[in-house]
Structure formats: C-alpha cells, structure tokens
Symmetry: C2
Subunit: 409 residues, 2 copies
C-alpha cells in the first residue's frame, strides 16, 4: 500500500533538483572536457540544507570524496552548495588533488558568502589526471552568477560523461493538506560491471527532515535502487549520492508513517534514476528486468540477481537475441545465496524453461521471440523463502567495447 | 630452485596425454556438433590408473560431473578410461541426463572389458540440451577401435568448442637415473569472466603416485595454474580436471623431495595449458601478464590480480590500446585483499605510473606504446608482505561479443 501511494504520484521527467523550493542550479563550460560542452555544475540551497550521503566503498577514494566527507563532518551535516565537474575524476591525484579540490570549494564559498566547510564536491571522468584549476577558477564567477531556479536541466547535462541523455525526475507528495517535493538527477551509463563506472546522484527535497532520519532514508533507498544495479563494496573511486533537505515547504517528517512515506517516495525517485542508468547502459540495445522470487532473504535475492545481471555470457547472449538460458542458471549457480538448486525454477517472460531439476518442453520459436524484444523479463524462483527483489541490467554489445576502448584517447 | 628444475625441462607442444607410457587415445565425429568435426574423445589407461580430480564449485553440477564423482568414489579412485564430448554439456538435463551419461559409460566399459565404474565422463557445450545418445552409441565401436598411442592430438582437437587451436603440452622429468613423463591437454577460451566458460583438462603421468599424494599435487597445481585464470567457487556447471597416474615408468613418487619435484612439474604443465587458454581468449587480441608483488599472502595476491584481470573496463581499455591506468587501480581498490592503498605502486612494463599516493610523471608516448604491444605486463606492488602471484588475462574485443552472442544459434 505504501509503495502504491508513493508510486502513484505524478512524475516529472524534465525537472530535478530545482523542483523543490529553495534550490538553484547552474552550469558552465570550464574547458575540462575537450568537446566544449558544459562540464562544471553548481547546486545551491539558499538557506542551507541538511545533507545525507552515500560514498563509494572503493579502497582508493577520489579527492572530492575525501574533501566532502571532511566538510560534512566539520559542518555537522549542514551545507549550502555542491560543486560538480565531469571530464576529470580528480582521483589518484595525491595531496595536490585534495588541495586543488579544497581551493575551488573555498572560492565557491567566498563568492556565495557561505561557510568554507559547507560546500561539497563531486567529480567524474578520467582517473589519475589533475583538474585544470586555472580554467575552473576563471569559470566560477559566471557559474555563481548563472544560478537560477530553472537551472536543473543544464546542471543535469553538465554532469554527463558517456551518458546519452540527462537523467532527471521530480515529484510532489501530498501529506495531509500539505505537499512537499523531491527531485533528483544522476549520471552513469556503464553497465557491464556497473560497479566500475562512476555513478553520481544529487537529490533535493523541501521537506524538513532530521539528519539521522534523512541518512537512514537515503541508505535504505540506495539499497533498493542503485544497489540493485550496482554492487556494494565494488564501486569506482568517485561514486557519490548526496541528498539535501532544506525544509522550505514547511512540511516536517517526524512520525513513523511520515518517515515511511518519505522513504518510499525517495526510493521511487531513486529507482527511476537507477533504471534510466540501465537503459542508457554503454552500448545497450536491450533492457533486462530480473525478478528474483521466494528467496530466503532480500540480500540473497539481490545476490542472485547480480550474479545473473553481471555475467558477460548472459549479457552477450541477450545482445545476440540467443535464448541460451543455461547461462542464466549457471550464473545463478555461482551466487553465494542460500537455496536448493533442485528447487530452482526459471521463467523467460511467462515461459517456464526449467523446473524440478528438468528442462521444460518449450516452443523454441516463441522463446527466440522473447529474446528478440527491447525489454526482456526473467524470473528466477528460488523456492527458499518469502523475499523478492528486482535487478536491472542490459545487454553487452559491440558498442560497449567501442565506447570503453576509446574513452581517454 | 625447485621451480627452476621443473621449468628447465624440455616441453613438447605437439604431444599430450599419450606421451607418458601406457596411455592411448581416440576421437571420432558422433554428430553432436553440427559442423561434422570430431566431438567424441576417449582416453584409455590400458592397465588402469589412479585418478585425482578437481570439479566445478557451481551449485548446478552437470550430469557427467555427478556420474564421474560417483564412479571415482565407488572405484576407490582406480579407473580405466575417460569419455569426453564437446557440443553438448549434458547439464541441467535432470535424471534422464544422468541416465544417459551412465548408459554411455557402461557401453564403453563393456567394449573395453573394464569395470562399469572405472570409466569417467566430461562434457562441454550448450547447457540444457540432452545428448544425442543414439548417434553417440553408434560411434562408440569406432571410437574404441581407433585407440592408439599417438591419438593424443586428435583427442585434443575433439574437445574444442570455441577454441581456435588445440592445447597440448608434455615433458619428461629425470629423477636420479630414471625418467617419468607428464602430458596434458585442455579446452577453454572464455576469458572475460573465465569462470563462466567451461574448462576441461586431462593430464596423464606414468609415474607411480599414491592416490592421496596425487590429489594434493593436483589441488596445489590447480591453485597455481587454472585458478590464476579462473575463480574458485565461480565456475561453469561442467569444469573438470582429471589427472591419471599409471606407474608404467616404474618411477615411484614417495619422498618429500620426489613429491615436490612431481608437484612442480605438474604445476608447470598446467600453467602452460592455462596460459594457452588465455592466449586463445574468445576474441582476444592482447595477452596480459599481471604480476602482484609484496602481498600479505598468496591468496591476497591472486585476489588483486583477479579483480584487475576480470574488470571489463580494464580489458576494453587494453583492447583499445588506451593507457587508462586509473581503471587498473580502481579495480585493485575493489578487491578484498589486505593492504594500505597509500603504499600501492603500479608499473606498466618498466614504467612506474603511480607511487606513494601520487601519479608519476610519465612519457605519454612511451606509455601508449607499451599499451600497443601484443603482450602487456603490469606490476602491482602492494607493499604489504612477501608473497607474489601472477594472473593472466586478455583484452575484451568486439569478437568476444560476436562469438558469445551467436554461440547456440
């Protein structure tokens, strides 16, 4: 019921972080990308906001991740702005990379007249290269001057790397007689091992949410959205999700039912962004929804989904429109989830291909057809419990190889 | 020193399982593959042999794996022959698949006049399809009649699937005034996730080795050969390694130094076969040697090597000849090994690109050249201990996608 309420809200796909009240955004070209496109973006909460965050678990952490962590800690989670660049990850750049990020955040803080430790950073692009600090510094005045309450789409475009389209979604939620808003944008398109391509996500809300509640909501929603397409502990050096809550709507999220409503709405927004990333998978030609049912627990269900969803043999078969379902079960068999292999069932669309340890008689033409559509659904029934999960993936095509073989050069 | 002795032996690349005395082999076309190539092979130890084995850890185990395990157990590890087919994995085929494998092994046993439980099976090919039992049965008389002491190359060819060349190696080892021989053959060419494509390997020796010693030697050698290109617990439904020792040379492996010599020689043979599989990686255009040095322990070193060696972003960059070394360290950062990221160093060939937490000044032209060769060597120094390992991988090319997108159809 709760999910239905949250999912029932109207979604706006042309708006994002400026849809909630009190947020402005801007974007300029600072010459970081060689193609002249906007590559520097700014999000600004005019009266400040409480922040929640999720960072990469990679052992190598990029300079913007380290600096943002420090600022969130010293500002006690009360921040004013986020500076984001694409084209250079500022990762594996040592102490000078950290100083470089700090200097730029200080400059933003100075020009916005806010505390030095209230500006956060996020970067995406090539690893091991230093930021072109001079050209970024020169661009900051026009970036700040350009802040506007309809700058969200320009911001969403400025954070793109190999993305084919900007990813935005926003919604308004009624709570009693009042309403609050949530909006978000994300970048990311690497789907063969979603873990390795940087994912950045920025979400704003004008609800008033306590810092601890905000963090719990973000952690739970991340688990049920981005972590169904990406892998905990197995991420790029830069992955970051920031959620800002400024309370501008006057709606306070306090009671358990309010917290549940807020968390569900946040989950829906983040799941929309996560599926956009899959649909924009580098070189992807087909979208795949993996339903894992009757698992012993939620994490087992996700584990099985990930094993299938990251298997290159499964993903190339899907690209080829080849109904080679044995590869799907072989991938299931490599997951560490708890189940009895002899009870596992596999459906492609509505067609059961394997059940009770036996391959089923299947119309091969029908099966081939199911593998030839743009959207493929597979259901793995583990018959080991009551939990289920959905994991989203895409196929692995020639273009994935092309895009990633030519990325820096 | 020991490794030097074993590695110093002359290798024969045109011989394999019939190089040791007392073994014969054969191969025929049984119509399992549609292209008319040989697809059914037989290895025969005329006076029987002690067997050691390593099987897939996939939760779904193919019929030949289940039947072979049972026969090894009931024969107490004393066997006579191995029947191998390509073109059909006989996996996820339920009880009828098991009965089918058993009937064919019984037929081989009958025609060879050996015990029913002394014949083992291995299969590779498409999962979820039944063996064409009738045409196989009809081929068995000519298969048995064709056994010969120079049938090893024909056997090596008959087990190929997407392999571009047969993989064989054999050597003779002097021990005091006596000599014994080891020979082996393998199939396998799937290298993006080496775990998912079936690897079969058959090794013979005419040394006399106790069953327990033989198993320990095989386990250790597998760890240091195939497990540096493939992943424990993360394999296809059919992966199998069989090692047969028939004692025909009269050389007995008993003392610690003899056991070490034998194990090292076996490791060299298996490492040769493992690197052949990498060089024949599906669509591979470059061979990559990853040296992981100064790890806290051997398994940590392998873990780091695997994280790098299975990263599609690393593998596509290598295909593109793109010196994007940040992806290599990002993959290192996702491994679960124990080390301090700030002490990690990365060399491409002899060129240090990252050290003491800082990217190094590097001649970009030189770096680009190093990435353009057919064989690339990278060294990750963890500075966390004294152990090292080598992991072998290849690039990820358009042809990988092509080969795997079209495999069953």
């Amino acid at each position: 019921m709760r999910m239905k309420t949250a999912e029932g809200n109207k979604m706006h796909y042309d708006r994002s972080i400026c849809f909630p009240q009190g947020f402005a955004a801007s974007a300029v070209s600072a010459g970081i990308k060689s193609n002249g496109l906007n590559d520097l973006g700014l999000v600004y909460a005019e009266n400040g906001a409480v922040v929640a965050s999720v960072f990469t678990l990679n052992r190598f952490q990029a300079a913007p991740v380290l600096v943002s962590r420090k600022n969130i800690s010293s500002s006690h989670g009360k921040v004013s702005a986020i500076l984001v660049n694409s084209g250079c990850a500022n990762s594996l750049t040592g102490k000078s990379g950290i100083r470089s990020a700090e200097r730029m955040l200080s400059e933003i803080a100075r020009q916005l007249h806010v505390g030095k430790n209230t500006v956060l950073a996020a970067s995406t692009g090539v690893i091991g290269k230093h930021l072109p600090e001079k050209s970024i510094s020169e661009s900051i005045p026009s970036l700040v001057a350009g802040l506007s309450v309809d700058g969200d789409t320009r911001f969403a475009q400025s954070i793109m790397t190999t993305d084919k389209f900007p990813k935005q979604v926003a919604t308004e939620i009624r709570i009693g007689k009042e309403t609050f808003r949530i909006g978000g944008t994300a970048k990311g398109a690497g789907m063969i091992h979603p873990n390795m391509a940087t994912m950045l996500c920025f979400i704003t809300t004008d609800a008033a949410v306590d810092r601890r509640v905000l963090q719990n909501a973000l952690t739970r929603a991340t688990d049920r959205s981005f972590n169904t397409i990406t892998v905990d502990g197995d991420t790029s050096t830069n992955d970051t999700v920031f959620l800002l809550a400024n309370g501008a709507s006057g709606v306070k999220i306090k009671t358990t039912s309010e917290i549940n409503l807020f968390t569900d709405a946040l989950t829906v927004i983040m799941r929309e962004l996560a599926t956009m990333i899959v649909r924009d998978g580098e070189g992807a030609t087909r979208f795949v929804r993996l339903k894992i049912e009757s698992a012993a627990n939620y994490h087992d269900a996700v584990r099985v989904g990930r094993a299938v969803g990251t298997s290159p043999l499964v993903k190339t078969a899907i690209f080829g429109g080849d109904p080679n379902w044995g590869r799907v079960l072989s991938a299931v068999g490599n997951s560490t989830a708890n189940y009895d292999p002899s009870r596992v069932e596999l459906n492609i669309g509505e067609v059961c291909v394997f059940k009770k340890n036996e391959p089923q008689r299947v119309d091969q033409v029908k099966l081939k057809e199911l593998f030839s559509t743009k959207e493929i659904e597979m259901t793995v029934k583990l018959n080991a419990g009551r939990e289920s999960a959905q994991v989203f993936t895409c196929d692995l095509s020639y273009d994935y190889v092309k895009i990633n073989g030519e990325y820096t050069t």
